[in-house]
Structures are given as structure tokens and as C-alpha cells.
Subunit: 405 residues, 2 copies
């Protein structure tokens, strides 16, 4: 609630875009809080912040948690911030109990996860894990022409550490679900097994614009009448590939978009997702077959352009099992879940064993100022995170064997 005051909106949300003065203020607040908890601070060349609590054995790679503290323009208090603050709370708890871990613990705040001001999204974790180069990220500009490099320097977060050089033993990220599944199932903890793969397409149907009154039905080349059949299939296809299939048409542009003119051209987006590469590929095959049939049936030109493809990202089996075991041990209701959205953990999973812990959010609503979550759920998620980190880092002087690294 204290962090949420920085960039607070009248409707109860937060507007704190990456690399703004408000982002600097939040970063400064986080670092001060980390220092007050006895943590050491490192900032890398893309502005990622790492707060380290020393372990008994400084040669072990750290067990890392974290998320992001930038928000959407009309974002909520919990998206990202929860994961960072849960990490901070764990350190404070260990301090209070005088518990020392074998491996060091770290709390990461990744730069520009949201991508609202600068693309690509998940920028800090993406550079950290080599998904794209730092120069590409540096050259990204906001709508007023300011670059990431200049804004990092301006707010004082252009660090010295080379992003890829930072070791990670393993990684856990706690996050609100941003969907309705946990709430609908009345479960406190989502044991996230991985993220959905995604295929994005742009589809264009070209017919012939003509007069809505003078053109008989049989003479029409109505681009929208064909496009709506494909839009229906995008949804039907996902429903056939339950439970994790998703099919969405989010964007539609009709030309000339006039009440009494039969549409001559319709452009629309198609978004397919599923949990395994095999299922996602099968959806791709079925969608293309449907469109081929539709092209033959209608005689209209239909172009399909693949614009993005991210394969599913399964998290580390051992990390997933740890989350599940700790949720059970602590007596929280839990279920396996899958993430449909992007998270820093997806990139970190490329360089270290990783998993995520979901907690419910009210109505499944996120990226919205009314985003909300139950304190008891947030506490449960932080407790699961604590025990996962202790399990992996090992407790100095206990019989548990450190397993991190």
C-alpha cells in the first residue's frame, strides 16, 4: 500500500510507467527498503535491480525471486508489485527469526515488464536472458521520442553490471493470476506448470464493395460475411481444444465501414493459444484448413499472415513439484494452473530452473485500476514462496541439504 501511493490514481489504481520519474521514486523506495533489511544492491546495464541477502556460503548461486514494479497506464496495485514485495517480506521475516540460508537469496525488480511505454515487453528479463540484445532495448523509444538508454541514464538506473553475467540458482515468481480460474475453483494457490504457447495472425478478406440495396445476395462478394465465418471458427476451434485452448479475435477493421455499402475488405487479428506445442500446431493446421475451404467456397481472396509465434514454456519439473509440496505442507487449497499471460519468469526459465506461484485476483480482473486481491491469499502466496526459497537455499545449521545450483 505504501509503494502503491507512488503514482496512485483517483480510482484506486497505479499509473507508474517504466523509466518515468515515478518509476525512479518507486525504485528508490524499494532500494531503501532493501537496505533497511540489510540487503546489498546491484543494478545492471538494463536497470534490473537485485537486492541480495547473504547466505552462509557466498560461492553458491542465489535463489532468486522477483517481478516488476512498473505498471500499465491504468494499472492496479498488485500486478508485478506483489511478487517484488513478497520477496522483501520474506527477507524481513528471516531477519526477524534470525534464520540464515546456505545460499544467498535475491529479490529482483525487472525493468519495463509491461511494455506500455517501450516495446519489447518484459524488457529487463528479456535482455538478462539473451532473448534480444541490449542495443535493441536501448534504442526503443516512447511516443515522444525518448529512448530507453536516455531515460535509464536520466533516472539514474543505468547500472554497470553486464546483464547475462548475473548468476541465478533457481527462480520463483509470485504473481496474481490475472484470470478467473483460481477464484472460480475457490483455490488459494495456483501451482503454475508453464505458460501457454501463442500464435498470432493477421487475416485479410478481400471481396468487392458494392451497394447494399442494388446488389442481390447471389451477386455479392461480401468480405464481412466470409470474415465472420472465420471469426466464428477461431472461437469454435479453441473450444474443441479444451481445457487450455484459447481463440480470440480482438481487432477488426472493415473497409469502407459504411452502413449501406457491402464491405469490400475486412482485416482482423487471430490469437490462438494452447499448453503444448503439439496442440498449438494442431490448431494452426485446423485453422488454415478451414480458411482454405472458405477461400474455395467463397471465391474471395483470403490472406493469412503469421505475425508472432511463441512456443509453450513448461516450467522446471522440480521447481513445480516444490511449489506443490509447500502449498500442501502449509495446508493451502491448490491446483495446477497455467499462465496465459507473459511474465518475467518465462524469460528467466531460459537460464535457470523456474516456476511461478499464482494467487487469485478479484473477478480475474487485471490491467485495470479496480484490480484487487485478498490479503489472506497474498499472505498464503508469500508463505509458499518463503518455503520454496528455504527449501532450495537450505537453512544453515539445519539438517536440510542445500539444493540450489
Amino acid at each position: 500500500m505504501e509503494l502503491a501511493r507512488i503514482g496512485a490514481t483517483p480510482k484506486g489504481g497505479v499509473a507508474r510507467l517504466a523509466l518515468t520519474d515515478l518509476d525512479r521514486e518507486a525504485r528508490d523506495w524499494l532500494i531503501a527498503a532493501g537496505r533497511a533489511a540489510g540487503m546489498a544492491v546491484r543494478v545492471d546495464q538494463i536497470g534490473n535491480i537485485f537486492l541480495r541477502r547473504a547466505g552462509r556460503d557466498a560461492t553458491l548461486p542465489p535463489v532468486v525471486t522477483g517481478s516488476h514494479i512498473d505498471t500499465q497506464p491504468t494499472g492496479g496495485k498488485f500486478d508485478g508489485n506483489y511478487g517484488v514485495l513478497a520477496g522483501l517480506e520474506i527477507v524481513r521475516t528471516l531477519n526477524d527469526r534470525n534464520i540464515v540460508t546456505e545460499a544467498p537469496l535475491e529479490v529482483a525488480a525487472w525493468t519495463n515488464e509491461e511494455g506500455s511505454r517501450f516495446v519489447p515487453v518484459m524488457m529487463g528479463s528479456g535482455v538478462f536472458c539473451g532473448a534480444f540484445g541490449i542495443e535493441h532495448a536501448y534504442d526503443a523509444r516512447d511516443t515522444s521520442g525518448r529512448s530507453v538508454r536516455d531515460e535509464l541514464a536520466r533516472i539514474g538506473y543505468l547500472g554497470a553490471e553486464v546483464p547475462g553475467s548475473h548468476r541465478v540458482g533457481c527462480y520463483f515468481e509470485a504473481h496474481i493470476e490475472q484470470g478467473p480460474v483460481l477464484e472460480d475453483a475457490a483455490k488459494t494457490i495456483g501451482v503454475v506448470s508453464g505458460t501457454l504457447g501463442l500464435r498470432w495472425y493477421d487475416c485479410t478478406v478481400r471481396g468487392l464493395e458494392s451497394h447494399a440495396g442494388t446488389t442481390p445476395m447471389a451477386s455479392r462478394r461480401d468480405a464481412l460475411a466470409v470474415a465472420t465465418r472465420i471469426m466464428q471458427e477461431v472461437v469454435a476451434l479453441a473450444e474443441r481444444h479444451a481445457p487450455h485452448g484459447r481463440g480470440t479475435v480482438g481487432y477488426v477493421n472493415v473497409f469502407p465501414n459504411s452502413r449501406n455499402v457491402i464491405p469490400g475488405e475486412v482485416r482482423f487479428s487471430m490469437d490462438l493459444r494452447n499448453a503444448t506445442a503439439a496442440l498449438l500446431d494442431q490448431m494452426d493446421v485446423e485453422l488454415r484448413a478451414f480458411i482454405d475451404d472458405e477461400r474455395r467456397r467463397s471465391g474471395l481472396a483470403i490472406d493469412v499472415e503469421a505475425v508472432a509465434h511463441y512456443p509453450p514454456c513448461p516450467f522446471d519439473a522440480d521447481c513445480i513439484a516444490t511449489v506443490e509440496r509447500m502449498a500442501a505442507k502449509l495446508g493451502y487449497s491448490h491446483m495446477r494452473a497455467i499462465s496465459g499471460a507473459g511474465h518475467d519468469a518465462i524469460y528467466v526459465a531460459r537460464v535457470a530452473p523456474a516456476a511461478m506461484i499464482f494467487v487469485p485476483c478479484k473477478g480475474g480482473i487485471s490491467h485495470n485500476e479496480i484490480e484487487d486481491a485478498e490479503p489472506s491469499h497474498l499472505e498464503a502466496g508469500a508463505n509458499v514462496l518463503l518455503h520454496c526459497m528455504l527449501e532450495k537455499a537450505g537453512v544453515a545449521g539445519s539438517s536440510a541439504t542445500p539444493s540450489a545450483g
Copy 2:
């Protein structure tokens, strides 16, 4: 082709919007041509021009033909202009042959049929026939704020005659079809029996915008998935009510219209047409029943607002029969046709027996600079018009009985 030079576009079309300097130039050209053919000129208070060729009996109401000489912003040479020039050509032909009719003949050029610069469309014939008041028309403004009254005065066509006071014995209008039916059927003359009735609606489907990745199919309230089912039904409904049923969704607006957000709201237009009031009403009933079912099935809010309703306009049976008989007598291939578009004849039919003569246009294309028509078809249409007018006006000294009035 001479008239088409006024406002000619590089692509071979005409851009001559109502009450512009180009419209004045075209009106001046037409009046000069009428005077050269010995015709008297009257202009009424809404700028309608009537060119009169005297008959033997000045007490008989005139047999009138005509159309309009304003065009769309990217219009063609033939829409409207053909009907006015066919009337002028008929007078020249009668002059050449020294034929005098019993009743007078008139050629009307109605003001602002297209409605591109000022609404309502079919303004001159609408005021003439009392569809709406002259003050309503006078107050119409273009996008720069200029009014019809001021522009009529500026170009010198604010006449003195009260529009409703002008007598019309009967009315024939020759026009390009602006659709593909005659060309597809390889017929030269369309005997127009009337115009389609029309019902326009705005439909709004309200769901819940949510994340395309994190929201499972069963949890969605996807406004577009419901809207596309209704859009499909608009087309299917019209196909069930062949041959004259028409169903068009021309306009679609999706909110927030973002690739990875499930649409929360979709607004779209629905345009239904048919040849009889009974069929059009039946289509209305079926559409509303489908939407009621869809509302129950989906649980989403669906609003339907009726925004326009014009009942079908059947033309005068005797005038239709005259067109059909003259086409047959002259040996032209012909068929019954129905007009799906608005024409001045629809308003004139409210105050006098009326019918229309269609000729094919290339590819059915109109309201486009590439609009085109075969000279032989244009000649055939003018010949049918000539014989219809002679039939109704009667030829002085012949055995034919004048039937106009």
C-alpha cells in the same frame, strides 16, 4: 460527355457536388441547352429546374421526365445525368421531326439527389413532394457550415416558384441500374416495378473485455463471438427471403479493438431490404427473434435500435405497363426489375403516377469514377422513354388519345 467535362476527374469520373460553383456551371449549361432547344425555364425555391416544351394544349399537366446532375465526390458520368440528358435528347428529337404533343413535356433536374454535401438526400424531389419542409432543407449545412439557403442564393438558383405548386401529369425517370442484375441477365431494359423497402438498425453487444491469454473459453463474455453470429444471421435471413431480400452489415466498431483483449463491446449496423412491406416486416420479426434467442443463450446484453424505416414504394401499374409495352414494341430485351437504391422518382411517385426505366451499367458499378454504360443501352433507354412520354402526352393530330393527367 460535354456535361461530364464540368467537374471531370483524372480517373474519368465526375466530382460535382450540389450547389458548388461546378453545379452552377452544369445548371447554366443545361439551361442554355434547353433554351437552344426552345424550352421555357422555371426554377423553384429549392432550386429544382424545369425545362418545358410546350404542347398543343397548355391546360394539360405536363408529362415529366428527369433526374439529377449533382454527383458523388468520386462519382461517374451517368448516375442522374443520363436521365436529364435523355429528356433533353427526346426534345431535340421531337424538334427535328416537328412532332407536337398534346400535353406539354418537361425535363426536371432535381436539386441535391446525392446528399453527399447536404443531407437529407433526394432533397429537391423531397421538398417538391412534401416529404419534408423547405425550411428543414434550407437549414442543412455542409461540413464547413454553409447552408443550403445561402448556397442556393450564392449560385443564383434560389427560384421563386413554390415547389408543391408545380403540376405533374405523370413521371418517367431513366437511370443506370447501379447493380448487376440486367448485365448478368443480358437484358437491355429494366422495367422498374418499384423500390425495395428498408429497415436500418444499430446493434450493440456488451460483454466483458478481458485478457486473451488468461481467460479460459468457458469464462469469457466475448462480445464479438456473439456479434458475429448475429452478423451471419443478417445475411442468412436475406438469403431465405429471396429473390429481393437483402441483408448487409456495413459498419462494425469493436472496443477496445486490441489484438490480445477479448472484445468487451461491438457496435454494428444492420440493413434489411425487401420488395413488399409484408416480407420486410417478416424479416424484422425473424431478426428480432434470433437476437432474443442469442441474448438468452449468451447472457450478454444486446441492444437493437431501429434507426430508419422506409416502406417499399411500388410504382404506378399503368406507367409500369407502358414502359414494358414500349420496350417490347421497340424490340429491346427487357425484364421486370426492382430498385434497391433511392431515386427522385420515389418521391415524385407520391404526387403523380410514376415509373422508372433502367439500363445496364458495366459490372453493376456506380458511385465510382469507373462507372460506365454502353452507348447502345443508353440509346435504347432514351427510346423507351421517348415512346412512353409520347404515349402519355399524346401526339397532336395523331389518332392517339392523350392520356396524361
